[in-house]
């Protein structure tokens, strides 16, 4: 069982890495077939990844997110899944060249981190956990893509402002397109994040008897939530767009990453990987 599961993991990792290489070749060479091939390789990697997660879910009896290794792989999976949906909608080929490396990066780290073998605590064998983690990660993945779009925006804006064009200029889309992707992925990602936090607190009420207990992860999630809320407010009410919004969404996402990884690894609390798996 373990052996089969790890084969799917390795397959997913390999396909995602090859797809990433393809996407990088695409951004240099600009040939459509390179993109198409990379896209389907990534989709295949996603499929293997899904099978892997299915096996893991089955064998653990809980969502496979309880240690750093699993959480990273799950995050990578969500990013790819969200990307595949967005790509079908926006048809913006260059996006893959930014998303795939990020997803592959998390996946590679996941493969390098040792997994824990401790048995799963009964409170995690709950559909609430799946729902909580599922919504939060879809939200995180969308916000990751908004951050990538913001980075692309800043690269492109810098070229237009400075009037010095390098190879990226022709390969990146217009500022308006990038700003739109940034905006909409936050607009859709934020409700998922919100929903995930609400579900989490209901879950905590059932499992621990308390909705909110100022656990470090809870506090940092709230900070992130407030930052994103402020960004959306500025966009809608003050008409923020372009550079400021891009920088802000990168700042917001770095808080989010810190909440996801930093808090779980460094700050303890019942969300930390140490307490969840009991290393």
């Amino acid at each position: 069982m373990e052996a089969i599961t790890s084969i799917w993991f390795i397959l997913a990792l390999c396909f995602e890495l090859i797809a990433t290489a393809g996407f990088i070749v695409y951004i240099i060479k600009q040939q459509k077939w390179v993109f198409t091939t990379s896209y389907w390789l990534l989709a295949a990697g996603f499929l293997f990844h899904t099978i892997f997660l299915g096996f893991r879910y089955y064998s653990l009896g809980a969502a496979p997110v309880l240690d750093l290794k699993s959480a990273l792989s799950f995050f990578s999976w969500s990013i790819i899944g969200v990307y595949l949906v967005i790509q079908a909608r926006f048809k913006l080929r260059v996006l893959g060249s930014f998303v795939a490396p990020l997803a592959a990066f998390f996946m590679t780290i996941s493969s390098a981190v040792p997994g824990t073998q401790t048995p799963v605590k009964p409170i995690f064998k709950s559909l609430w956990l799946t729902f909580h983690v599922g919504t939060v990660f879809v939200g995180n993945a969308l916000l990751a893509i908004s951050c990538l779009a913001a980075i692309m925006y800043l690269i492109q804006e810098r070229q237009i402002k400075r009037k010095r064009f390098d190879t990226f200029y022709g390969r990146l889309p217009s500022l308006a397109t990038l700003d739109n992707i940034n905006y909409y992925s936050i607009l859709y990602g934020f409700p998922f994040l919100t929903l995930g936090m609400i579900v989490g607190s209901i879950y905590a009420h059932f499992a621990l008897g308390i909705y909110w207990q100022w656990d470090p992860k809870e506090v940092w999630s709230l900070i992130c939530w407030l930052f994103y809320a402020a960004l959306i407010h500025e966009r809608l009410v003050m008409g923020w767009q372009g550079r400021k919004a891009a920088i802000m969404s990168i700042v917001c996402f770095s808080f989010l990453i810190f909440t996801f990884l930093g808090v779980s690894l460094l700050m303890g609390g019942y969300h930390s990987f140490g307490n969840m798996g009991g290393r």
Partner: protein, 438 residues
């Protein structure tokens, strides 16, 4: 075997004064073709005359004579003695001529590589040649191939990709900022040829509304009428800056017309909508510091020229790819040209007939297998002699035309009639199955 000869001059080989002599008259293509028709050595002729080049493309048997005749024709047309311009001429023969005309059609030989006008000019010149009945089998094929090559170059390389004129560069930048120009508003300040050209390009690229602003309101009205735009007076400048997405400025003012403070003031009210300012004026109309404001992009004339320089270099790189396409097509054309003589045509006619016979025998194999060997042989003899008899007259006819000036036409007709150029996109050759249930 007739030869393809190309004699001409372009912007590189001849000074403009000389090209002018030959190109000024609008009727000169017809005139040249008329003069060519009177030359016995010229079998087919094509004449192209644009502001950057004069080209004569002919098909002739006697190369030296034909060359001299065409050169003196050029002299006659421009009213200049031959020795004054013969040094500026280039002459290409056969495949070199084919390569040259393919390159010209693909805009590889143009002053601005990749400019799109030349193909249209060649098409017009070719139309003229067909109208004057100076284009025959070889030139027809050659010119159609040239159009085909130009099309391939345009779709397979990025040679026409990046803008190389100020106004196109402005449109391209606007697209990189706004993505879609539809629904965007342009403010045109002042007037001037280049500004109006830029405005026109923006309008044809989807900009929905335009406002014209000028120090003198009458002038604004005048310019606005040209574009179907609305004129406004100079005092409304701040109000207009609020509404506009793209500003094109070109006034004779010695002071800044738009200052940083002015733009900064409207930015908040614009709710950070991006603003693209194009300053074509010298001295400049817009304070350069405006570019430092958020979501505001200012390009002056030098910036735009810089963009163009980069794009030109990029086209040069694409031209290398295009040359590969040209050489590919030249090889194909050479192959076709070689089939255009009596013996290869007869050979392909026979082999086509043989292929049909074989195919039909194959289809009827089961029925034929029931016959005795002598009967089968009789059927085969019968079929073959019918085919032989059918082909005998066309073959005799073609042999009889060998050496005549009309030979190429007959060869071409034969090849088309029997679809001998199989696998060629212009002759979709298919053996149509005979309907046996009659």
């Amino acid at each position: 075997m007739p030869k393809i000869i190309n004699i001409g001059m372009n912007h590189e080989t001849a000074p403009v004064a000389l090209r002018e002599c030959l190109a000024v008259e609008s009727q000169n293509v017809q005139k040249a073709l008329g003069l060519m028709r009177n030359l016995d050595v010229v079998r087919e002729g094509f004449f192209l005359s644009t502001c950057n080049r004069v080209e004569a493309l002919i098909v002739a048997n006697e190369v030296q004579e034909a060359k001299q005749a065409v050169v003196s024709l050029l002299g006659k047309m421009g009213n200049i003695p031959v020795n004054e311009f013969s040094a500026c001429l280039y002459t290409y023969e056969n495949m070199d001529a084919v390569t040259h005309i393919f390159s010209v059609a693909s805009s590889l030989d143009s002053m601005v590589i990749g400019e799109p006008q030349i193909l249209g000019q060649i098409k017009d010149a070719y139309l003229e040649a067909t109208r004057e009945k100076m284009s025959g089998v070889i030139l027809n094929r050659l010119m159609h191939k040239a159009f085909h090559v130009a099309k391939r170059v345009r779709s397979e390389t990025d040679i026409c990709g990046a803008a190389v004129s100020i106004s196109y560069a402005a449109v391209e930048l606007a697209r990189k900022i706004f993505h879609d120009l539809e629904g965007k508003r342009v403010l045109l300040i002042g007037a001037g040829e280049m500004a109006e050209l830029a405005a026109r390009h923006l309008l044809t690229n989807g900009v929905s509304a335009m406002t014209v602003l000028n120090r003198t309101f009458e002038r604004a009205v005048e310019v606005a009428e040209k574009f179907g735009a609305s004129p406004v007076s100079f005092e409304e400048i701040e109000d207009q800056l609020l509404k506009a997405d793209i500003v094109v400025s070109s006034t004779a003012s010695t002071e800044f017309v738009i200052t940083r403070d002015m733009v900064k003031k409207v930015l908040k009210k614009r709710r950070n909508r991006p603003l693209f300012l194009i300053d074509i004026a010298v001295p400049r109309d817009i304070q350069p510091e405006v570019n430092k404001l958020n979501n505001v992009y200012l390009y002056d004339i030098d910036d735009l020229k810089g963009v163009i320089e980069i794009n030109k270099a990029q086209r040069q790189e694409e031209a290398v790819k295009a040359q590969r396409i040209v050489s590919e097509e030249v090889v194909k054309f050479e192959k076709w040209l070689k089939t255009l003589s009596v013996v290869p045509t007869i050979v392909s006619l026979r082999s086509k007939a043989e292929a049909i016979v074989q195919a039909e025998f194959g289809k009827s194999r089961s029925a034929l297998d029931q016959l005795s060997p002598p009967q089968r042989e009789a059927v085969e003899v019968l079929v073959r002699s019918i085919v032989e008899k059918m082909l005998n007259d066309p073959i005799l006819f073609l042999k009889g035309k060998a050496g005549r000036s009309t030979l190429n036409d007959y060869l071409d007709t034969t090849r088309k009639l029997f679809s001998l150029d199989e696998g060629d996109e212009s002759n979709p050759a298919k053996i149509i199955p005979v309907n046996k249930s009659f």
